[in-house]
């Protein structure tokens, strides 16, 4: 039953994977190795003076309460982004799946935001929620809410969560929709004949069948929240106010690129690599068991 291509040549399979391996080595392993190397160095901005300091950069990091706080910020941010991102897109996909007329239009509109660059998405939402000129601020003020994310940390967090979720919904939507459409109608009809209502059909039949998709998206969304959102943050809050939106990846970028502290920034990248590796292993070991393929 198993389909397997057998190569008779000794070198051909290696030659075929070589380009992909080369890309991985040059763009992933090599920079990662460099990050490890720099994380043990203390260096001035122009690289004129380099000194091996062992684990000093890591000790500095973990004695910095701001760095420890940015773990909390990142955890809150990632849970919110992945949670809302998945829930909203699943809802939209479930509804779009039922639309008969003009479904193409709905789908296209829902997929659009994915083409927007993170920085642009950030600026867009920052404008709408700008403390003095934003249209949403105006509406909120009319409702009696004092909206000023420049000083209110929770509002700033909300802003970057909204912008990040909005950008990611399209991607999740695509996968959920594809997942929904691949569920055989007969299963749902059988459940309906047995007297299950729409909600029960969804939770006992559709959702378990969607679990591979959901699991894949969970991994992708966590990684998105960890790494890809710094464009949104840089364009809006820049980690402020008072560090309320200073996520781990933004701090790496800020310390390395803006503050020219290569050693400290590299040490943070190494920590970040370790976290994401641990998270991915955890997800595959424990959550994947609940997935029904």
């Amino acid at each position: 039953m198993e389909k397997r291509v057998v190569f008779r040549s000794a070198w051909l399979p290696y030659a075929l994977v070589a380009p992909q391996l080369a890309i991985t080595v040059v763009f992933f392993f090599w920079p990662a190795a460099q990050a490890f190397w720099y994380s043990t160095q203390l260096q001035d901005a122009f690289g004129l003076n380099t000194e091996f300091v062992g684990l000093q950069n890591f000790r500095d990091l973990f004695s910095d309460d701001r760095y420890l706080d940015s773990f909390r910020v990142t955890a809150v941010f990632s849970v919110l982004v992945a949670g809302f991102g998945l829930a909203i897109s699943l809802l939209l996909a479930a509804m779009a799946d039922r639309v008969v007329r003009g479904s193409l239009v709905y789908r296209t509109l829902l997929i659009w935001p994915y083409a927007v660059a993170p920085a642009v998405a950030g600026v867009l939402w920052a404008f709408m929620f700008a403390p003095s000129i934003g249209i949403c601020t105006y509406v909120l003020k009319k409702m009696g809410i004092d909206w000023n994310w420049v000083i209110e940390g929770n509002q700033a967090m909300l802003l970057i969560v909204i912008a990040s979720v909005w950008k990611q919904i399209s991607y999740n939507f695509l996968f959920f929709l594809a997942g929904l459409q691949s569920i055989p109608r007969s299963l749902i009809e059988a459940a309906a004949i047995d007297g299950a209502g729409p909600a029960r059909r969804f939770w006992t039949v559709v959702f378990p069948l969607l679990s591979p998709t959901t699991f894949f998206l969970l991994v992708v969304n966590i990684i998105y929240a960890f790494f890809d959102t710094f464009g949104v943050i840089d364009a809006t809050t820049q980690g402020g106010p008072a560090g309320a939106t200073n996520t781990l990846v933004y701090k790496v970028y800020y310390d390395g690129v803006k503050a020219a502290d290569l050693g400290g920034s590299s040490a943070q990248s190494v920590v970040l690599i370790a976290i994401v590796m641990a998270l991915t292993v955890f997800q595959f070991r424990f959550i994947e068991k609940k997935v029904q393929y």
């Binding site: 901005a45 004129l48 000194e51 003095s132 420049v150 000083i151 940390g153 008072a242 690129v257």
Partner: protein, 442 residues
């Protein structure tokens, strides 16, 4: 549609030929990286064009490299790759980083001496030149666009609130009282401030003649420590925190976001850069004035003089002697009073030489634009002391960030001023120590 590629090829060929044609002339090119976007960028390009038209040997090529931090990062990366530009514009908080850069830079005094260009550091405003001069008296970078903080007052809003528009607040006590009255009379935002650290810690210290850090604010060495958690600093930040609580002070952000709030009429008083004047002249639909920043009148010796912000031009190492000659020629050109006056009146930045200031005054510019000379008057109010000459703190990009984070915590009511300033000093000192360790022996 099918014609398009052909046309593109033709355009590309034409561009290539044009490029070859300019390269064929035996001109020495001077690369100048800068961070002046928009209208300021046009003024800067005009300066370069004027220099290029004034002689045939050198051609200055200005390249916009994004914001100050971006351009500094680009320069560091370019230097590491051996492709640094000749001249780069670096903002004042990057000064210590550049000064510690050893062979990566060439001191301006040396560039001028080697090229035998006339150069007299004494002709520059002391508050400007002092910022960029090392402890042996050598000017290391060329002051280009210098600004300082001033107090802007919306005169129409003052009238509406029953305040005398000719009487801008002189002290913080007055500003506080005026702000409360404005608020009571329905002004949505009474007072706001751009650049919180630059205004309320850095300039505040100089203006009251108190140190921000030891070792003459870092001018004497990398072993400087922050000391801006003195009772006076705590008192000032406590006052701002209370004003924020009562709605008399509105925090707007870490850079110049507050300027938009003033220009739109939302805020009645603003402390921010002199560089904002060009914007207000164009966009403010009300009568406004420029004034000295307030001080606490019970502090002995206050007011002293304010310190500059803005940027200076650094010369990067590793180029040919002929190219440095061109750089020196260009700096001589930039120092000319008429060029300085053009830059100063066109942008709102401070004239960096006394001669340029005198020339502008005689031209009647200050009579037509009242307040445009406040910055110079404030910078030269008294001869600079060791507390008001300028700042030299390593990795101050991060240092300022720490200060601003802690200030935000006070404005949000999450920390009291004393704790926030103590924390800022402690965290700031960690950054200074790290910089000292990374730049040993300089």
């Amino acid at each position: 549609m099918t014609h398009r590629p052909a046309r593109l090829v033709r355009v590309a060929l034409a561009a290539l030929l044009a490029g070859l044609a300019t390269a064929a002339q035996a001109q020495t090119e001077i690369q100048w990286w800068h961070s002046m976007g928009g209208a300021l960028g046009q003024k800067l390009n005009a300066l370069a064009d004027k220099f290029n038209a004034s002689q045939k040997d050198y051609k200055v090529v200005p390249v916009y490299k994004g914001s100050y931090p971006e351009s500094l990062t680009a320069t560091i990366a370019a230097y590491r790759a051996g492709k640094a530009p000749h001249i780069v514009q670096v903002f004042e908080v990057g000064t210590a980083t550049m000064m510690a850069a050893g062979q990566a830079i060439v001191p301006v005094a040396k560039v001028m001496a080697d090229a035998k260009e006339p150069f007299n550091p004494k002709s520059y405003l002391p508050a400007v030149a002092g910022y960029y001069t090392d402890r042996n008296g050598n000017m290391l970078s060329f002051p280009f666009n210098s600004s300082t903080v001033v107090l802007y007052v919306n005169r129409d809003a003052f009238k509406k609130a029953g305040l005398d528009p000719d009487k801008a607040p002189k002290t913080w006590k007055e500003l506080n009282a005026f702000a409360l009255q404005l608020k009571v009379r329905g002004q949505e935002c009474a007072y706001t401030s751009g650049w919180p650290s630059w205004m309320h810690i850095e300039n505040f210290s100089a203006w009251h003649n108190v140190p921000m850090g030891t070792r003459q604010n870092g001018m004497l060495g990398l072993d400087t420590k922050f000391v801006f958690n003195s009772p006076l600093h705590v008192r000032h930040l406590t006052m701002l925190g209370q004003m924020a609580k009562r709605g008399a002070f509105t925090y707007a952000g870490r850079t110049n976001q507050a300027e938009a709030k003033f220009a739109s009429g939302e805020c009645a008083m603003l402390t921010s850069s002199t560089g904002a004047q060009a914007n207000f002249r164009q966009n403010a639909k009300f009568d406004w004035s420029v004034n000295f920043i307030p001080y606490h009148d019970d502090v002995k010796g206050a007011p002293q003089n304010s310190i500059i912000g803005g940027a200076s031009l650094w010369v990067m190492g590793g180029h040919k002697p002929a190219e440095y000659k061109g750089v020196a020629r260009f700096f001589s050109f930039l120092s000319r009073p008429e060029i300085q006056m053009e830059w100063h009146t066109g942008t709102g930045y401070v004239p960096i030489t006394m001669a340029a200031y005198e020339m502008t005054r005689k031209s009647g510019f200050y009579d037509k634009n009242p307040g445009a000379d406040i910055a110079v008057k404030q910078l030269t109010y008294k001869p600079p002391t060791e507390n008001s000459k300028g700042l030299r703190f390593g990795n101050f990009v991060q240092g300022r960030e720490v200060i601003e984070e802690e200030m935000e915590a006070v404005f949000a009511g999450k920390k009291d001023a004393k704790t926030a300033l103590d924390d800022a000093v402690r965290r700031g000192n960690e950054i200074l120590r790290k910089f000292e360790a990374a730049n040993k022996g300089r």
